[in-house]
Symmetry: C2
Subunit: 141 residues, 2 copies
């Protein structure tokens, strides 16, 4: 199977969420840099380091049969040279009819490589507590 | 009060954890870039964007009276040009005698500015589930 060289961090980000949504492990493997230093932290999960450990986790997740759909917004970008950092909201729906909804806050890092831009870090954490916490803060202050 | 210009991302990281451990809000304010695009995600918290929102959170946290001590290890660094990304383990002890212990996984991003290197993103998530999750995975596989 042939995959594109990603010409920009934005292209890789799009490909990452397409691979995730499509549960396409081959596409996910192509999105990531194949280095020993890549990092992935799934929500509430440990820090996984290196291509082998990270791809093992994606194999488990994408093979689980979950039908996830992503809408990504609230994006901050910090970039210079061959590094681009995007902090996003992943608005996720699950199931055929989008029964379950959740928010994940993700920091995604992309790196320019000899094979175009690749993902080198994905750090996700649960964002669904935002409303509850905001409400609590309003009560306190 | 006068603070140093941080000459490297490592210098800022050290100053960040010293400010956190010392509950020193002035030092914490000096560690961060003062831009509207800075991002902070405390463990299980929402995404806070911009200097005002981020500093409000640090004022709350550092004023809480928690006595935290940090040992930072397991560091991956991805850097180019004026951006440096560090993903670390924060081994935290709390209380006078270090009674409570916890692990936070943090992605820290530093940016070169006209005033030296500054922190522009801190994304923390609970890492204490690492052992439980690893054990569960061992059972499954």
């Amino acid at each position: 199977m042939t995959f594109s060289r990603y010409g920009s961090p934005k292209d890789v980000e799009l490909a990452f969420y397409e691979a995730f949504q499509g549960a396409d492990l081959d596409a996910m493997r192509a999105v990531w840099d194949d280095g020993d230093d890549i990092v992935c932290v799934h929500p509430m999960g440990p820090k996984l380091v290196g291509y082998e450990a990270v791809m093992k986790s994606w194999s488990d997740i994408l093979g689980s049969g979950a039908q996830l759909s992503f809408r990504v917004d609230n994006i901050q970008i910090m970039a210079d040279g061959g590094i681009s950092v995007h902090c996003v909201h992943e608005n996720i729906t699950q199931g055929r009819h989008g029964e379950l909804r959740g928010l994940v806050i993700a920091t995604n890092v992309y790196r320019a490589t000899d094979n175009g831009w690749r993902m080198v870090l994905h750090h996700g954490s649960p964002g669904a507590v935002e409303t509850a916490q905001a409400q609590r803060q309003h009560v306190v202050h």
